[in-house]
């Protein structure tokens, strides 16, 4: 028991050292993630199952802790929709659901939760409008911001149809969900998926033939947010209601 524990602890440090990494490979039978990772082999996205979301806000808190998101800004958040038979829906997201939803929804109206995050659009308007190339779609399908190159002009914030971007007041640059790029490129799942208690969020690799997403898409109807924007989001929603914007 102790030896395995220790071995793994050392293994984490070995990732940095290529030569020692080879030893690790022999022991565990797997190449160290950061060495083996090939961008061309991945195309990341997410599957969100509305019928599994319980609005606990675990994803919001986890994202905030994992990525040091400043207070009052959100890389991910959860909305609660109350959709009456007629008229406008009522939507809430108290502090982005950082503490869940303290008050229950009324029982006589259809209601549900909608987790939101950057859609990592394949045809992203935020990337299109960045004047300097500080935000981009990575070869493995993640929309990222280069914090050392961003001007802070905020054109991308205006261009995002989903309200997923903000100006980080600490760095004075555009900020947004990275799909936990630092995690998924070393074989971990995102902080939000890791912490979702019901599996409402699933990290998806569309290029991995063994990913369960392919089986899921064959049998289920899915939708993306604002499909008419033609941004080709890679965050797919199962059981999404037509009222959701």
């Amino acid at each position: 028991m102790m030896t395995r524990r220790d071995l793994f602890r050392i293994g984490g440090k070995m990732l940095v050292l290529a030569s020692v990494g080879a030893t690790l490979e022999e022991i565990t039978g797997a190449a160290p993630a950061s060495e083996a990772y090939k961008m061309a082999d991945h195309w990341w996205g997410m599957l969100i199952d509305i019928d599994k979301c319980i609005g606990c806000g675990n994803c919001v808190r986890a994202c905030s802790k994992e990525n040091n998101v400043p207070n009052g800004y959100f890389r991910t958040w959860v909305e609660r929709y109350e959709v009456p038979e007629e008229g406008q829906p009522k939507v809430e997201s108290p502090d982005g659901a950082m503490n869940g939803f303290p008050l229950p929804a009324p029982a006589n109206v259809k209601s549900f939760f909608v987790p939101k995050l950057c859609n990592h659009c394949a045809d992203s308007p935020c990337v299109q409008v960045c004047p300097v190339g500080a935000t981009f779609l990575s070869p493995d399908g993640v929309v990222l911001v280069d914090q050392t190159y961003c001007l802070g002009c905020r054109y991308c914030v205006q261009a995002c149809p989903y309200g997923c971007r903000f100006l980080n007041p600490e760095t004075n640059t555009a900020d947004k969900c990275t799909l936990c790029y630092h995690r998924i490129t070393q074989g971990l799942t995102t902080a939000c998926c890791e912490n979702c208690p019901t599996g409402a969020r699933q990290l998806v690799d569309f290029k991995n033939p063994k990913d369960p997403i392919h089986e899921f898409l064959r049998h289920n109807k899915v939708q993306v947010l604002k499909p008419y924007m033609a941004t080709e989001p890679k965050v797919k929603y199962h059981d999404l209601d037509g009222a959701v914007r």
């Binding site: 009052g72 800004y73 959100f74 958040w77 909305e79 406008q88 829906p89 009522k90 939507v91 809430e92 997201s93 108290p94 502090d95 982005g96 303290p102 939101k116 308007p125 990337v127 299109q128 409008v129 960045c130 004047p131 300097v132 190339g133 500080a134 190159y149 961003c150 001007l151 802070g152 002009c153 905020r154 054109y155 914030v157 205006q158 261009a159 995002c160 149809p161 989903y162 309200g163 997923c164 971007r165 903000f166 100006l167 760095t171 004075n172 640059t173 924007m229 914007r245």
Partner: protein, 388 residues
């Protein structure tokens, strides 16, 4: 749970406005540049002789405002020191990336060259007659040539004409392009419209013409020189025509939106009737458009005594300038007050002595006038009756 200033639902990152009053100034100031330059080119390219007295004044006005145009943008950036990246690695698919190039092209190749060519005889004369350090300034401005022979001037005239011919589409580009920055944002229904560049262009001409008219009349007042009524009448006529086109385009946009009533309509309509009621309906449409148009229409339709006419022009022009500013405000700020979920509204809290507050905005709006004053001192644009 209620967020102050927010009604209904905003996406949590939408509560705070991204583009402040400084971004309102940017299209306003570039609009004045483009408009003033196009007025100047009326004389040069389109041979409208009557506006000759304002030709040089319009050029200096354009330069004064053009020098200030990038400052609000610079001040607004999260990392002003990185703005050079716009020149180093401009992203071709970005509507904003070209601003630096369009700006530099317009400043150096068009405006500075044209002004230098136009003022060369004056510069050379001053370089010979002025005393002390001013002599040195003019010496530098001659760029090493005292040749103002008729043959050299004939060449200047030809090159100047060519530069103006290039300059008119450049001025169109400069401002039509500013409109495109907004008009091409498909995520924002308040902005997204193919009419946006055209509306921006015509409103630019309207504001630039009005600004030159006011500056001209004011300068004549200061210099205690009689106003050339033929000139002012002509400018006012152009102002009226341009304004009619501008207003028609804006109404076309409005009618189109109302008739189509797409998913954003209910939300935008509510916004115009509440948060934008004063700045859009009262200030922009009633006081800033209909009233000056009515004043100008009266001068076009009926004979009005000279003094009264002049006063009406000036009042109409001032109202126009306020109206066009309100238009920029409603586009830039209005476009950020509603949620892209169409379910709520936020409000704009303008700071005062903050980096993007009211104080720097006022300072940036006064700066062009200071530059204009310096330019006029340096290069007097007044026509000498004996030499003209």
């Amino acid at each position: 749970m209620m967020i102050p200033g927010v009604d209904g639902f905003m996406y949590p990152n939408e509560v705070e406005l991204q583009w402040s009053v400084l971004i309102v100034l940017y299209p306003y100031i570039t609009g004045l540049v483009a408009g003033a330059f196009i007025l100047a080119s009326l004389e040069r390219v389109f041979k409208v002789e009557a506006v000759r007295p304002t030709y040089r004044l319009a050029l200096l006005t354009a330069l004064a405002f053009l020098l200030v145009a990038p400052l609000p943008l610079q001040l607004h950036l999260g990392h002003p020191e990185r703005s050079i990246e716009m020149y180093l690695t401009p992203h071709r698919s970005s509507a904003m990336a070209m601003f630096g190039f369009v700006y530099l092209w317009y400043l150096t190749v068009v405006l500075l060259v044209e002004i230098w060519l136009e003022f060369r005889p004056d510069i050379v004369r001053m370089a010979q007659t002025a005393k002390g350090w001013t002599r040195l300034v003019y010496k530098v401005l001659t760029l090493g040539s005292m040749n103002v022979s008729p043959a050299a001037r004939a060449i200047d005239e030809k090159v100047g004409y060519f530069v103006t011919v290039v300059g008119v589409p450049s001025a169109f580009l400069l401002h039509g392009y500013v409109g495109f920055i907004f008009g091409s944002v498909k995520a924002n229904p308040w902005w997204s419209s193919p009419l946006m560049p055209v509306v921006f262009l015509f409103s630019a001409m309207v504001s630039g013409i009005a600004a030159v008219l006011v500056l001209y009349v004011a300068a004549m007042k200061v210099r205690k020189t009689p106003v050339d009524m033929r000139c002012v009448d002509t400018i006012a006529k152009y102002l009226f025509y341009m304004f009619m086109i501008d207003f028609s385009l804006e109404m076309l946009d409005l009618v189109h939106r109302i008739y189509e009533s797409d998913e954003s309509f209910r939300s935008l309509d509510f916004m115009v009737h509440t948060r934008l009621w004063f700045s859009q309906v009262i200030l922009q449409i009633c006081l800033g458009t209909l009233l000056p148009l009515a004043l100008l229409a009266i001068t076009q339709l009926w004979r009005v005594a000279e003094g009264k006419r002049r006063l009406m022009y000036v009042v109409a022009s001032c109202l126009t300038l306020v109206g066009i500013f309100a238009m920029r405000w409603n586009v830039v700020i209005g476009g950020q007050l509603f949620s892209k979920s169409f379910l709520g509204y936020t409000s704009y809290k303008m700071g005062f002595a903050t980096r993007e507050g009211l104080l720097p905005a006022i300072a940036l709006m006064l700066l062009p006038f200071l530059i204009f004053w310096v330019l006029v001192k340096l290069l007097p644009p007044w026509l000498k009756r004996e030499t003209a």
